[in-house]
């Protein structure tokens, strides 16, 4: 790797990289995101590498193992450029055929194409797939263009251009102004204006200032930060260096959950490469500005996503938050001014510097600018990562991009904002998605998890799930959060196990209010949101559990019983094959029955029954 000491060195390097890319080159990209890994993309990639080498066509074909492409549900994904062919669910056995037919003869393999669920039309290119069509992939888009472990790929698509622009054409104050005017707000959850935070940190007295990237993506159901840091780590790093220049920071940390081993590895690789190239360390690009970054690992504590707890964790302490009367921009890591932003926020910075604040602020709504990446998951057909302009409606995301319901059950709500957010009912799906409108309906943007729920989801169970989640993750420092959540959990346990009474909901609401009002940090303050929003929009479900001892969604096991209708059962035996406890009995072609005493109420029989004969009461 060459050491770059000036802007012209960087440009020369870029020209050199681009000159090596041949005009007629075929690029085969295999998605290496974690979702695709679960579907066996590593084997597909290895098979490609082997076949390309064996057939001696490595001069004609460039094989790329990219970061997450977003459409995880359809993995492993393979794309072929320049034709722009999009193959999904590719297996090892398909590799030779792709090389001989598609790459060799230009023939498209119909069986690997995406099929539109409604029109049944086969779609060849990514752009035509409904999942991608309505998206605006500014931040996530480059994941498919580069190999995350190759700095040359990032330089080739214009990487570090924003950094050189900031260092040589702009004063630190101008960089801050640009970010302020762009209207960029923190993507981690609260939506605090990024430029304002930078300015406060720059103005805070002190020689030493720290820059932190928060990749402790603890919100269950959200994984965009993981995909960004895994798939395009240099874009995050470039954002951090620009931020450090604007704020006057000399040292930075990327704090990564240890549950994300690939993100840790790719971030580590990126910092090492950047350091070797002279983009990190002393006198970056010969500008006189010095900055370096280290990787810090988390230990599996949700509360460490909170800035003060995260800082304590980097210091090698127990991750307990502190009261924020003095903000971290004034006194953070080791007591010094510290600017902390989320992965997605940092990745937006190079875009804004390159294309300008006017361009950025032209996207989105009045108070929420740019795009936001959501992880669209749960009971929806097309699951994966979607990047959309702020202000798009929930309806568009869930139905146009997500393709609507998954298995015949009607969608009834979407949960946003993780354990700090709430459930939004289907009647409000025309709501434009931005920071403020989500808060108005009792939820929040959060880091961008969007978990779709259908009629098979019990809202009391979901509320209980979040309370127990937070009870377990509470650091225990302050009483309202530690004890309050425990009691709320007990009340919800009682309701879902048929022991709820008239008093339960009154007490639950009262406790929720106290926990929200008196907890120290954001975890406790927002903890009651999932319960309060569920009560606000789905109260009848709570009442059914309490008064009729019935779970309408047939989820709460204490309140349900499985049986098979004698008249409807065709005796196909599918149910007895899937039953993990062998509770389903019956002869072939004869009506089956369930032994209640050994039935674990898992519902597997109901899921496979084609005759709809399995009943839940």
């Amino acid at each position: 790797m060459r050491k770059i000491k000036s802007v012209s060195d960087l440009e020369k390097w870029r020209e050199h990289i681009l000159s090596k890319q041949k005009q007629d080159e075929v690029v085969v990209s295999v998605c290496g995101g974690t979702g695709c890994h679960a579907y066996g993309c590593k084997k597909v990639r290895d098979q490609f590498a082997k076949a390309i080498k064996k057939n001696d066509i490595d001069k004609k074909i460039r094989l790329r193992f990219t970061g997450c492409r977003g459409f995880c549900e359809r993995g492993p994904i393979v794309t072929i450029q320049p034709q722009g062919i999009f193959y999904q669910r590719v297996q090892e056995k398909d590799v030779l055929l792709i090389l001989s037919e598609t790459v060799g003869k230009g023939k498209i393999l119909e069986n690997l194409l995406y099929e539109d669920a409604i029109t049944k039309r086969k779609v060849t290119s990514e752009k035509e797939i409904p999942f991608y069509k309505a998206q605006h992939r500014l931040v996530l888009g480059n994941n498919g263009q580069i190999e995350p472990t190759k700095i040359e790929d990032y330089i080739g698509i214009g990487g570090y251009q924003a950094l050189s622009k900031a260092l040589f054409e702009m004063k630190p104050e101008q960089v801050i102004d640009e970010i302020k005017v762009s209207g960029l707000r923190g993507r981690g959850g609260a939506g605090f204006p990024t430029g304002k935070k930078w300015e406060d940190c720059r103005n805070a007295p002190g020689e030493i200032k720290y820059i932190i990237c928060n990749c402790d993506e603890g919100d269950p159901g959200a994984y965009m930060d993981r995909s960004l840091l895994e798939g395009n780590p240099h874009s995050v790093l470039e954002g951090m260096i620009i931020g450090a220049y604007a704020i006057g920071g000399s040292h930075g940390y990327i704090y990564v959950r240890h549950e994300y081993p690939l993100a840790c590895k790719n971030a580590e690789t990126a910092t090492t490469q950047a350091r070797k190239a002279g983009l990190l360390g002393k006198n970056i690009l010969g500008s006189g500005f010095s900055f370096d970054v280290e990787i810090a690992k988390g230990g599996g504590a949700f509360v460490c996503g909170e800035s003060t707890a995260l800082i304590a964790s980097i210091e090698g302490k127990v991750g307990e938050p502190r009261s924020k009367q003095v903000h971290t921009v004034a006194r953070g890591l080791w007591g010094k001014p510290t600017n902390l932003n989320n992965v997605e926020t940092w990745a937006n910075v190079p875009l804004i510097i390159n294309k300008g604040s006017q361009w950025f602020s032209s996207i989105g709504t009045e108070k929420s600018k740019g795009t936001k990446i959501f992880s669209l998951v749960g009971k929806v057909k097309n699951t994966g990562l979607v990047e959309v302009p702020m202000g798009i409606t929930l309806e568009k995301i869930i139905f146009d991009i997500g393709g609507g319901q998954q298995d015949g059950r009607k969608i009834k709500a979407v949960q946003t904002g993780g354990p700090s957010g709430g459930c939004i009912p289907a009647s409000l799906f025309d709501l434009p998605v931005d920071f403020d409108s989500l808060t108005q309906v009792g939820s929040m943007m959060g880091s961008g998890g969007m978990i779709v729920m259908d009629e098979g989801t019990c809202m009391v169970d979901v509320a209980k799930y979040f309370v127990h989640f937070l009870e377990e993750e509470s650091c225990g420092k302050c009483l309202p959060c530690r004890e309050g959540l425990k009691r709320m959990g007990q009340i919800l346990d009682n309701i879902t196990e048929g022991r709820g009474d008239e008093e339960s909901l009154v007490l639950l609401e009262e406790l929720a209010e106290v926990v929200a009002d008196t907890s120290i940090c954001g975890l406790g303050k927002t903890a009651p949101n999932p319960v309060l929003s569920a009560l606000r929009y789905f109260r009848p479900e709570f009442e059914a559990h309490i008064h009729q001892k019935r779970c309408p969604a047939a989820v709460c096991t204490s309140l349900i019983q499985y049986s098979i209708s004698e008249t409807d059962c065709t005796g196909c035996g599918a149910c007895s094959k899937v039953c993990p406890t062998q509770a389903v009995k019956g002869e072939k072609k004869q009506s089956h029955f369930i032994l209640a005493e050994i039935c674990s109420k898992c519902g597997s029989c109901k899921d496979v029954c084609k005759a709809n004969a399995v009943m839940v009461q």
Binding site: G35, E217, G221, Y223, G300, L376, E472, T581, C602, S604
Partner: protein
């Protein structure tokens, strides 16, 4: 148990206190838990109180002070996995292994862990078994994974 490697791990992080969590991770990766002897060594080299190290080791969920089983079964119970039936898989795993989450089977073969999100939400419910992700799980598939590990064990005889 040989603790020579602990010294090398501490060297890697230049005895820095900021490296504490990473040091503990590396020790756990090597020994499958945090042995007391190793923690004493960390305390002395980092010039920290053993109590503080113990505090960190017990606060963060990733760490264990008791030896883990040979096979690690991690079940994700993030929201997406939860609404798609994660708890049903947990019930099945508890039944198969006769242990509670966080525990290890008496024969030291399996450890069952829960995690609040593995970040593979699109293909939930997800299980992470011995370093491999398994997506779109159901109770039967989960049961088969355990059966397969047991079968391989029998096939390979005493070695495993």
């Amino acid at each position: 148990m040989d603790f020579e490697h602990v010294g090398k791990i501490i060297d890697k992080y230049q005895e820095k206190r900021t490296g504490l969590i990473s040091i503990l991770h590396d020790i756990q990766d090597r020994y499958h838990f945090l042995p007391e002897e190793a923690l004493r060594k960390v305390a002395s080299r980092l010039r920290m109180d053993l109590n503080d190290i113990y505090g960190v080791a017990t606060f963060y969920k990733s760490f264990s002070l008791i030896p883990k089983g040979k096979h690690s079964i991690t079940l994700c119970l993030g929201t997406a996995c939860h609404v798609r039936g994660g708890p049903k898989i947990l019930r099945e795993m508890k039944k198969q292994l006769s242990i509670e989450p966080g525990q290890t089977t008496a024969d030291k073969q399996f450890s069952l862990n829960l995690v609040n999100c593995l970040g593979v939400c699109a293909i939930g419910p997800v299980m992470f078994v011995d370093g491999k992700f398994y997506g779109e799980m159901n109770p039967l598939k989960a049961k088969r994974i355990i059966e397969k590990i047991n079968k391989n064990k029998r096939k390979n005889g005493v070695k495993s």
